[in-house]
Amino acid sequence: MPGPFAAFKWEALLSDWNVFAEGFGMTIAVSVLALLLALVLGIAFGMMGTEKSRLFRLVNRCYVELIQNTPLVIQIFFLYNGLPYIGIQLPIFWVGMLGIGVYHGAYAAEVVRAGILSVPKGQFEAAMAQGFSYRDTMRHIILPQAKRLAYPPLTNLAVNLIKNTSVMAMIAGGDLMYHADSWASANLYYGPAYVVTGLLYIAICFPLATYAKHLESKLEVSV
């Protein structure tokens, strides 16, 4: 019996490298777009969470609690298998991007909200007193300060988001994990397939995670 990491299995993987490359490309594309979506949602809903209006705060709470307290897998299954029943058959790429973006958007909203709340109220009042409009106050005074505090957790969030794109493997999504698992279960060369997949994820996530740590330590020094 050859071991799980026998040389010929690695050779097989090398000759099929394009399968993994295709999946890796898909994972990166979904990650980037989902991250953008998560940031947009995070900023929009995060700001709502700091509003005086109860309605806005209620909308923020509903979004955050509903999404954060149910599994991503269920949300993705819903987009994939639920929505077609009411005539919405999103392409698989959209299912991944929307599902993963909306899920992590809820976490981003909490980070953004905490960032904004960390800016002393006086600054807001001072800016308004200076004749700044609400939008300008947010844009030029509050958000730049909130950003500094929100950056490290948002970077960590990006790492989680990239890892969670693997959920697409469960709906035949064509991402890295899907192709790796499909390749491995066809020829039973699990060992090399999983190692290479792990390394590819680490290759994108580790630099980001390290960057997040760097930002955190900078923050600690300045605080």
């Binding site: 299954f77 491995a184 580790f206």
Partner: protein, 214 residues
């Protein structure tokens, strides 16, 4: 609607819920223990510290699903055990980083103070530093616990019938929009109730404790 809200279906889902809670519960307990050990090691530095760091960084930058697939298909463990081990291996890294954050928040003076009182290092760690460190990170810890409960649904990828799995099995028997949407709603609601109660309870307790201290 009425064809979903039946006793047998609830019992069937309940079986899945038991699997979910077993895997999540075991993974939480074990990864909290191992995570704390790794956090202490990494905080301490040295050879073992570096080793802990390598483990943490390698594991937390790869997806959970990869570990579930690997432990299910490359070890002879029975399915549920494979799920527990995979989740423990993965979550240990995540919890280690959270606990380490708590350790860093403890002032160095505490170590010295403990030492002057005649405590040895282990005792200072056990009785003075760790309790405070963990207390300081209860909110992120609890939030990670709920994430673990949610992420248990990944085990369905290898056919372990957790709550998500049982839900999807039932889903295969129903084919109208109303039934499918009701089922999705029901499954999501079960997860929601569990996770929301956990986070509410933790939040309230933490606030009460914070009030008691300050």
């Amino acid at each position: 609607m009425s064809d979903i809200f039946q006793v047998p279906i609830f019992l069937f889902l309940l079986q899945g819920l038991r699997v979910t809670l077993t895997i999540a519960g075991a993974a939480i307990l074990m990864s909290l223990v191992f995570g704390t050990i790794l956090a202490v090691l990494r905080n301490h530095g040295g050879f073992w510290g570096h080793l802990a760091a390598v483990y943490i960084e390698a594991v937390r930058n790869a997806p959970l699903l990869l570990f579930i697939l690997a432990f299910r298909f490359m070890t002879p463990l029975p399915p549920v055990y494979a799920g527990i081990v995979a989740m423990t291996v993965f979550e240990t890294a995540a919890l280690a980083e959270i606990v380490r954050g708590g350790l860093k928040s403890i002032h160095k003076g505490q170590w010295e103070a403990g030492a002057t009182q005649g405590f040895n290092k282990i005792q200072v760690l056990r009785y003075i530093v760790l309790p405070q460190a963990i207390h300081n990170v209860i909110p992120p810890l609890v939030s990670q616990f709920t994430t673990i409960i949610k992420d248990t649904s990944y085990v369905w990828a290898v056919g372990i019938e957790d709550l998500t799995g049982k839900g999807m099995i039932i889903m295969g028997r129903y084919t109208t929009a109303a039934q499918v949407f009701t089922l999705f709603g029901l499954i999501a609601a079960i997860y929601f109730v569990i996770n929301y109660s956990i986070s509410c309870y933790a939040r309230r307790r933490h606030q009460r404790m914070a009030k008691a201290i300050y």
